[in-house]
């Protein structure tokens, strides 16, 4: 799994958190690579280090040791401005608790990352926003605020928001954890569809076996270490 198409690489990554006078090791000696366009599941029980790995790939946390490379750029040592730009231009985020901006409407939430880039939202961008909202099935809710939506609808807004900047990688931290199983499956299907249509790399953490089965690359963690790193068979992955 070490070739030029890899969009994410972790090399002997370690993360320790201070806890009082001692340190807790969240992940240790983690190395793996993710190919562009993969639909990757980082699986494992609670406390295995899934979110820590996602945070480091998402540049919202830094490793205590080792190297994380995202879209060909090592993230360690980058200044705040560069990290912010990397997050904005290369990465999209889907959070477990949706994390929409409560005062913005569905459309404004989706538009928001484009505004952060300082660019002008012209007709092409507006058309793209409308298409994303349509893709996630919320055309009739575009002017609603997050408080007026169900959990599944909010997560679909979050997906549209994560995709609006056409990022190379979308990171999803337990995207179905706060949803019922039916809605969760629909969300995963939607992510899979976008992954195939747009070629966006999806990396999501989960401990749900049904969702893991949909991934074409599974990285299983146990006690902060990689216990399994396998590519699914083509037939399996195409489900």
């Amino acid at each position: 799994m070490q070739n030029g198409d890899h969009i994410v690489t972790l090399d002997r990554v370690e993360k320790k958190y201070p806890l009082g006078s001692t340190e807790v090791t969240a992940v240790s000696g983690v190395s793996f690579s993710i190919a562009a366009g993969d639909f990757v599941s980082i699986a494992g029980p609670s406390g295995s280090g899934k979110t820590t790995i996602l945070n480091m790939i998402g540049c919202v946390d830094t490793p205590s040791a080792g190297l994380v490379t995202v879209a060909g750029r090592p993230t360690v040592g980058l200044k705040d401005d560069a990290i912010t730009a990397l997050r904005r231009e290369v990465l999209g985020f889907i959070f477990q608790s949706f994390n929409l901006v409560p005062v913005l409407t569905v459309r404004e939430n989706v538009e928001f990352p484009l505004l952060l880039g300082g660019g002008r939202v012209g007709p092409a961008e507006r058309a793209w926003i409308d298409r994303l909202i349509e893709e996630v099935g919320l055309s009739d809710r575009r002017d609603h605020k997050p408080g007026e939506l169900s959990g599944g609808q909010r997560q679909r807004v979050a997906i549209a928001r994560a995709l609006v900047t056409k990022p190379k990688i979308v990171l999803a931290d337990e995207p179905t954890a706060n949803l019922d199983s039916k809605t969760g499956e629909a969300i995963i299907r939607l992510m899979r569809l976008i992954n195939r249509e747009l070629g966006t790399t999806f990396v999501f953490s989960t401990h749900d076996a049904k969702i893991v089965a949909v991934a074409d690359h599974v990285i299983r963690l146990e006690d902060g270490k990689v216990a399994e790193n396998r590519l699914a068979a083509p037939a399996e992955a195409s489900r």
Partner: protein, 477 residues
Amino acid sequence: MNGAVLRMAFRNLKEHRRKSLTVGLIVAAASMLFVLGSSLLESATAGLRKSYRDRFTGDLYVTAKSPKKITAFGWDDPGSMGEPLPLLPRHDEVKAFAATIPGVEALASRSVAFVQVSKEDSDAKGATLLMGVEPAEYARAFPEAFALAGGASFGPAGSGLLASSFLSRGMGEAAGPGGAVLLSSVGMGSSIREERVLGVLPRDGANPFLNMTSYVGIDSVRGLLGHYEGEGGAAEAAAAPAPALDEAELFGGEAVVEAEGAGIDAAALVSSLASSGSSRLDGSAWQSLVLKVRSEREVPAVREALESFLAREGIEAQVRGWEEGAGMLASSVLAMKRIFYYVCAVVAMVALLVIMNALVISVTERTGEIGTMRAIGASRGFVTRLIVSETLILSAASGLAGAAAGAGVVGLLSVRGIPAGNFLLRVMFGGPVLRPVLSAAAVGLCLLAVLAIGAAASWYPTKVALRVNPATAMIRA
């Protein structure tokens, strides 16, 4: 993007409307009180300035240097009332220079003496603050000074007395137009002069102190204070050998020297003789020079020019503004104004702390939201702009609302008027009723202050917001 920031800021304020309302009300109330208080004090000061500046102090006045404070009415210390003020050194030179300063509209020289007033063959007695002036010159500088309630003003000779309303009221007919009164200086020997009352000045509703002032030609005051040419003044005149007496002058002349019921006093006799021509009065003896300046804006420049001249020429004189010239009462009002601004500064600090505290709570409550924004690519600048915008919008809106409310109250009070219930308030208000005028400067200052407070209040909450780690926010969300 700035549009997006403002939209979010507005909606955040609306979303947290209880907090916004609480902070907004505090800022609005402080703004209203500031505009109202400033307008009241500015109006009172303007009234006070008008009543003093237009009739007594001018914009600037020049006197001899003195360790004790000199006002337009004499010593500021009431205990020194009988003591004459020092003469302005090289008065004529100072006046000639002052006349050349651009911006000087009018100038007038003046000397003051506190005198007792009595009348021959009458028990009526009184006292007045006597201002010795060149009537024509003084009328040009202070046209309102000689407005009369009755009688006539100074003739071309400039002799006679315009009696104060206080004197006229106290002495009745005795100090009425046409009669003659005896003026005797207080605390400087027994110089006595007789003056014919020409007219009576009207009662000034603004300031009862001003009602004690009477006017005479300068030579009367010079005579009473002993300002003679080439001599050391009344004391020397009194000590000098008595000149030959003229019977007609002693018993039938204009200057009557007989103090009421006391027979002829030697010192008074000598003084009177001196003033009647045996010794010449010093024509350049003046205690002060009063200047009126074309506009308030030009006053500092005129003052600076005068002070430079005095320093350059080595003249031991000082230049003072109308506030100092107006004395203790005006100083009290101005001190009150200063206290008001100190209180406003304290209120501003409290408002700053309240806003800051409310914002910090608001930021803490929105840690997840701020963290999310940072995670999806919001720069530190974006977060800063968002927090600062929220504070500034809230401050500006509440400041404007408060200033508008203050302006409304000022307008209402202006129509209704605030009656001055007592003497002190009459002095403070510059009249029996204060009709406040909205101070544009106060409104401007208020809005600037609330914006500055808003900007300052956002500093710490912004710092807190920028400390939010996107990863922490993801965990908390």
